[in-house]
């Protein structure tokens, strides 16, 4: 049977084999197709998932923005028309003869008219208004609300942005919602990048075909076929890879994006995402930031031609960069205008008007200066305990600082030249010296807010920040603390007679210390106030040793010094290291009459939308008794009138009284001046980083630099209300130890605590004059 049974014919066998192969192939093909389909479906599902996930939670890393203190305008505000115009220019206001909208101003002699943009400050909204400011000298004389034609009390300009803390990506942007974007810009972008944006589904075959044809016709690539949706994908996923695989993936992503999101959502994301320029290591993304970067103005204030210019940039932000390639940029702008005209977005008249306009690009990004590195150091240390680097780089925080641009910029403009004026050249033949260095801190005398900082002689340069890091001996700047210790003890007064004569102090380790006066002179009997005003070392050490070094250190602590100090007698001559910022903190307490307010560089932190996160208000604590402070103040005002700062008497005459103290250290290594008016405290340090001698005393160096700067700042005079417990008493002009030597011919009037009398040897108060005085006091009530 088996034998009889024929085997399958060769044909059929062949057929069978072929059929089997075929079905295997089919199976294979089917399987492959299935696999490919499944893989494709999986791929698409993955893409779909990724797009939805990424786009729904699309959050850009937004840098923290730092703002200077806003300019306050009110009648009597110490602001000149130049100051206001400077601020308006930094804010990108447009100078114009007629004011048509927010962000414009005009000037007519002492009258400045402006239309403010308004700003949503966290402590209250500042609305947009049309105002007229009338100036008289360096003050605001009148404030008029133009829309109501009435005077009004005060106004805050928008704060100038001074810096930002960028994310690691270097990307920067100012996200806007679509409703905030001018229609002309949307039209321009659609016209030039994707005219069928509202009709396609993410990919535009017609557009690709058209692009292909134009490119063939031109023989070069003149038009791209990718839609705004595809461009957004490219920008979001930063793909430089141009393989077919990537192109297909991008197309699929675009389809998925269109499937799940509306045209408006896609357009808004595109307008905020697209790369439009590079500013150093900062990448300019989105049209709102580009408007600020190229024109220094908000997007909403730009005219048609400027919007057209911006709309032309996505094609090649570097190639069409209007600052570097103005001709190309102009050409590109006009291409955009033509497309807008072709697509009926603008009229021929509008097109004609716009294309004749110049580029209008600002010199540089007006909002951002070269930065204020020394001040930024302070800001960082102030907020470091509340915000980590990640939050600062990504959450778009707004940080409202205490920096006053008028003060900072004036200081920066003057400092280098003022230092050059006092610098002592190296003697001929000696190796060239490095430049004399400087640091300065200016604070608000009332609130302790830091208004300006220079970390070096050229403050705009980032480098060693001497204001916060250079620990130097303070020399005679310590003396007010000694005088205050004495006055507060109740055992001394301004007319206490001290002994300015040779001293030999045996130290704990057995060494002896023999301090000397500057110039090695000695003055014998001197009044306490005089020893301070003329900065006499021997009399001061005499006093300090009677008080005890620890009690002087205690006073330094009360005044706000929190650094290291060893209780050696040399502390009495300033052998204690402080940074200029620490000195400013201490003198701040003197300037506010014994109320210590820690220095601050930040006032508030808000979210990007203005909700308050943290506030750093004025803190204050009374650390010295008011009568002692009043007496000390009187003595320190005399530093200008007859003490170590009298060289500035003529120059500062009309600003007096001011108070301050010079400081000089051994071998003239450091030249200090710390001084204050009614409004500001300023501390200047001059010296070399390697500690070599400067050839300058506090008076011949730092005081002159201080005066150059504080004079330009229009420093206000000191105003002090005498506490009720102060009584004025007559004291002999010359300090003596015996009543027989007393000369009451032309006595001095000094402030005393009302339960204290001048020392008998110098007391010139007769019984009669005491009665008069009582009568005077009665009359003054």
């Amino acid at each position: 049977m088996t034998e009889l049974e024929p085997g399958p014919p060769p044909d059929s066998q062949h057929h069978q084999v072929t059929g089997r192969k075929w079905s295997r192939l089919k199976l294979l093909l089917g399987g492959t197709t299935l696999l490919v389909t499944v893989a494709l479906a999986g791929w698409f599902a993955w893409i779909d998932f990724k797009i939805r996930r990424d786009f729904e939670t699309l959050q850009w890393a937004l840098p923290a923005r730092l703002y200077a203190r806003p300019v306050e305008l009110y009648v009597g505000a110490p602001v000149s028309s130049e100051d206001v115009i400077d601020t308006l220019q930094r804010l990108g206001y447009r100078h114009s003869d007629s004011i048509d909208g927010p962000g414009e101003y005009s000037v007519n002699d002492s009258v400045v008219q402006l239309w403010t943009r308004g700003f949503d400050f966290w402590d209250g909204e500042e609305v947009s208004r049309q105002v007229e400011l009338d100036f008289l000298g360096s003050h605001v004389n009148r404030l008029l609300n133009l829309s109501r034609d009435s005077e009004f009390p005060l106004l805050r300009l928008e704060p100038v942005e001074i810096a930002q803390i960028n994310p690691d990506t270097g990307e920067d942007r100012l996200p806007l919602s679509l409703s905030e974007v001018p229609t002309d810009l949307i039209n321009a972008v659609v016209a030039v990048e994707d005219r069928r944006f509202y009709d396609h589904f993410g990919v535009d075959p017609i557009g690709i075909l058209r692009a292909l044809l134009s490119n063939l016709r031109a023989g070069a690539i003149v038009q791209g076929g990718s839609t705004l949706t595809q461009q957004l994908i490219k920008n979001l996923y930063l793909t430089q890879d141009r393989t077919w695989h990537r192109k297909i993936e991008e197309a699929l992503m675009a389809l998925a994006l269109e499937l799940h999101f509306s045209k408006d959502e896609i357009l808004a994301a595109y307008l905020n995402e697209v790369f439009l320029g590079q500013d150093g290591n900062r990448a300019i993304h989105g049209f709102a930031l580009a408007a600020e970067y190229y024109f220094g103005r908000p997007l909403g204030e730009l005219p048609l031609q400027d919007l057209a210019l911006l709309a032309g940039l996505p094609r090649g932000a570097s190639y069409y960069n209007p600052r570097r390639n103005p001709e190309r940029a102009l050409e590109r702008r006009n291409v955009v205008l033509t497309r807008m005209l072709d697509q009926d977005f603008i009229t021929p008249a509008e097109n004609g008007e716009a294309r004749t306009q110049p580029l209008g690009v600002s010199e540089r990004s007006t909002q951002r200066g070269r930065g204020y590195p020394a001040f930024m150091d302070l800001v960082r240390s102030d907020i470091a305990r509340d915000y980590d680097a990640q939050a600062l780089q990504t959450e778009g925080l707004r940080i409202f600082t205490t920096l006053d641009l008028r003060i900072q910029n004036t200081m920066e403009a003057v400092l280098d030249g003022a230092v050059a004026d006092v610098e002592v050249p190296a003697p001929p033949g000696s190796p060239p010296a490095p430049p004399l260095q400087a640091a300065m801190v200016i604070t608000d005398a009332v609130t302790g807010e830091v208004r300006a900082v220079a970390g070096g002689r050229k403050p705009g340069y980032n480098g060693f920040n001497r204001a916060t890091r250079a620990l130097r001996q303070i020399g005679s700047l310590v003396k007010p603390a000694i005088a205050l210790t004495a006055l507060e003890s109740g055992d001394f007064n301004l007319a206490t007679v001290l002994d300015d004569s040779p001293l030999n102090i045996t130290l704990d380790n057995g060494d002896s210390w023999t301090p000397t006066n500057y110039g090695n002179e000695m003055y014998g009997d001197v009044y306490l106030y005089d020893a301070l005003q003329r900065s006499l070392n021997l009399a001061t050490v005499d006093l300090g040793m009677r008080l005890g070094v620890p009690s002087v250190i205690n006073t330094l602590r009360k005044l706000g010094f929190d650094g290291d100090v060893q209780p050696y007698p040399s502390v009495l001559l300033g052998a204690v290291n402080m940074t200029p910022l620490q000195v400013a903190g201490m003198y701040q307490t003197l300037a506010s009459n014994g109320f210590r307010s820690p220095l601050r560089a930040v006032e508030a932190v808000t979210t990007g939308t203005g909700e308050r996160l943290a506030r750093y208000g004025i803190a204050t604590e009374q650390v010295a008794d008011p009568v002692s402070m009043f007496q000390l103040e009187w003595a320190m005002q005399g530093v200008f009138e007859r003490g170590t700062a009298r060289s500035m008497l003529n120059r500062l005459d009309r600003r007096l009284p001011l108070a301050g103290k010079t400081g000089t250290t051994n071998d003239l290594r450091d030249s200090w001046f710390a001084g204050y008016g009614g409004d500001l405290v300023g501390v200047v340090w001059l010296g070399y980083d390697d500690n070599r001698a400067t050839g300058l005393t506090g008076a011949s160096g730092a005081l002159r630099v201080w005066s150059d700067i504080m004079e330009r700042l229009n420093l206000q005079r000191r105003q002090l209300v005498a506490p009720a417990q102060v009584s004025w008493q007559r004291v002999a002009a010359e300090p003596v130890h015996t009543e027989s030597a007393r000369d009451c011919q032309s006595p001095l009037m000094l402030p005393f605590r009302d339960d204290q009398m001048p020392p008998p040897a110098v007391n010139c108060e007769s019984r009669e004059s005491l009665i008069n005085q009582l009568f005077d006091r009665f009359r003054s009530l």
């Binding site: 604590e621 000191r718 209300v721």
Partner: protein
């Protein structure tokens, strides 16, 4: 609660002071007369600070429109301070007071208001510091001085 009488009194006394005040003369080494200050808000409307215990928050009584004098920067800001207090946002009230103080740093009344706000927030060290600063500028204003002293004693009681 304080009655409104001392406030009215202080207002009338201050406006009287303003008429013979010789202006702000700084301390000088040659003219040792005791100087007095014109409070910057004295001409404008003054609202009464809350001196209620720290836990309570009583909004100030509104002042009729007709009694308002021309607004100064400080008096305008004080209206916003009152609004912020009424809205329960004491920190905002403090911030606006500070803004007013930057404009009129020698106005005892503004320091007093800030002291009162910090007192209501339970920040007694600062409250005392501000009240003492207010005292140092209060000069002849006896009613204000009285209010400040009252606040100081409340602070000292509360912080005990």
């Amino acid at each position: 609660m304080l009655s409104r009488l001392p406030l009215l009194l202080s207002l009338s006394i201050m406006s009287a002071c303003a008429t013979y005040n010789t202006g702000r003369v700084p301390v000088s080494t040659s003219s040792p007369t005791v100087q007095r200050e014109t409070p910057a808000v004295s001409g404008g409307q003054r609202s009464q600070p809350s001196v209620s215990p720290a836990q309570e928050n009583v909004p100030p009584e509104p002042v009729p429109e007709s009694s308002r004098e021309p607004a100064t920067p400080a008096s305008t800001l004080m209206v916003s301070v009152d609004d912020a207090i009424a809205a329960g946002d004491l920190e905002r009230a403090a911030a606006i007071s500070e803004r007013a103080l930057r404009i009129s740093p020698r106005d005892a009344y503004l320091w007093y208001r800030l002291a009162d706000i910090r007192y209501q927030q339970g920040q007694y060290t600062n409250a005392e510091g501000f009240a003492r600063r207010a005292q140092s500028f209060a000069g002849d204003d006896r009613n204000l001085s009285q209010d400040i002293n009252l606040l100081l004693s409340r602070i000292s009681q509360a912080s005990r």
